[in-house]
Symmetry: C2
Subunit: 260 residues, 2 copies
């Protein structure tokens, strides 16, 4: 965030590494889409309107495919490519994108503003990207929820004026909820069955831990009227021994995708 | 470049790859300095004042050293770290930086504005980084001109109001001069002996082709008064069969560092 002239600039950068953030052999078009969507999702969580991106591109064997996919993704979101840098190197490919946005509401929402007594909401189901990745790996089923995740820009802008805290759950709902709780110095208590999921019920625990769904997690005063489709999934309480509770207890196992 | 509120934003991104843009085993502090200086040099060439950077960092075995060096480099230039992304991956390391600047003069100088009849100037000697790298590789002599290149921010801001075209010569004077000529649709005729060099005379041809000196190359009307130390090195003529002439003939061999 940066005050710039009479505007507030919101900046975000995501780097994706082959074999870590994307599959070796995934199409250039898929990579371009994900790079754009993941960065614009960060802007969405700030209620920012994207104005442009800078690309850091490592050449591969699908450059034309990547360029075409980038054009499509940027056109989809109405965003301009402002510049960047292209390199050639051996080893796993690294791709980066810087997205530049304009704050539509100030103060810009952050993950650290959740207040005791707030309600916790989620814009939509999680677990879809997990199913999509499984479809891509097996060659069966619809992989689009993994390959064509949507940054919820309009939703983020509509929510910015009313939220006390907001972030996307691109690393997994439970992990990102715990990050919000820690940043806000509160405990977030989620109700497991209240979380909307895109998966069969038997996959619920995995869906709550899987990332790459660009849903927005936000907190609002308990009586707030929510201007976009969303689901109440918990409450904010004063900080206890555990920052995150799921049905009253700390969730077991890994909570989400920890970036190395 | 982006008009933003009542200001014009100047954005630049450089990516450095181990083994391509820096030596394996070079200190984290050196990497941090170069990453900052190379990006801020791009802002200097636009007459922009840097306001912040975003870092794309791939973890290595010198992370504390890198962090300390980054702090020092940013403090040297008075620039804030606004955010970024950290990844871990195998293979050659990739580091990227996005620099955000505020235009101090509009229109923002570009490489495409050189006019027939203009004089061509260079702010200072080239070839110093070449000597510095040789010192680093041999372990003898002063490597600081390679390891601590200076982005000429004050000079760029002083020049912005009077230049018709400006760029840094980080890829080599001859290569970058040809790029300026091509972008401006003119021919640039340089005088070989007029170019200031940091090397012994016998290395002149190499110095004209070596990059990583952050000198500024600029064109101005022939009668312009230059507000910073600089050297006239040639003239702009109408576009002939060759975009770049050195003592009247196209220079032989590779002109500079072609990024892959």
């Amino acid at each position: 965030m940066l005050d710039f002239g009479n505007e507030t600039l919101v900046l975000t950068h995501d780097t994706m590494v082959e074999g870590v953030h994307f599959l070796p052999g995934q199409s250039g078009e898929d990579l371009a889409w994900k790079l754009v969507a993941s960065n614009l999702s960060d802007l969405a969580a700030k209620g920012a309107e994207p104005v442009g991106v800078l690309l850091s591109y490592q050449l591969g064997n699908d450059d034309a495919d990547f360029a075409a996919g980038l054009d499509r993704a940027l056109a989809h979101y109405g965003v301009a490519l402002l510049g960047g840098d292209t390199v050639s190197a051996n080893g796993p490919r690294t791709l980066g994108l810087t997205a530049i946005g304009r704050a539509t509401f100030r103060p810009v929402p952050s993950r650290s503003g959740a207040q005791v007594g707030d309600a916790v909401w989620l814009t939509g189901p999680v677990g879809g990207a997990m199913l999509g990745l499984e479809a891509l790996q097996s060659g069966q089923g619809d992989s689009r929820l993994y390959r064509r995740g949507q940054a919820l820009l309009a939703e983020g802008q509509a929510l910015a004026p009313i939220v006390s805290a907001m972030m996307d759950v691109s690393d997994g709902l439970l992990l990102d909820a715990r990050r919000m709780a820690t940043a806000s110095d509160v405990t977030i208590a989620l109700e497991r069955m209240a979380v909307p999921i895109a998966t069969p019920e038997e996959r619920r625990d995995a869906a709550l831990r899987w990332g790459e769904d660009y849903q927005l997690l936000f907190t609002v005063p308990a009586d707030a009227v929510i201007p976009v489709p969303a689901h109440p999934i918990g409450t904010v309480t004063s900080r206890g021994p555990e920052p995150l509770l799921l049905d009253g207890a700390p969730p077991a196992g890994q909570l989400g995708y920890e970036h190395g």
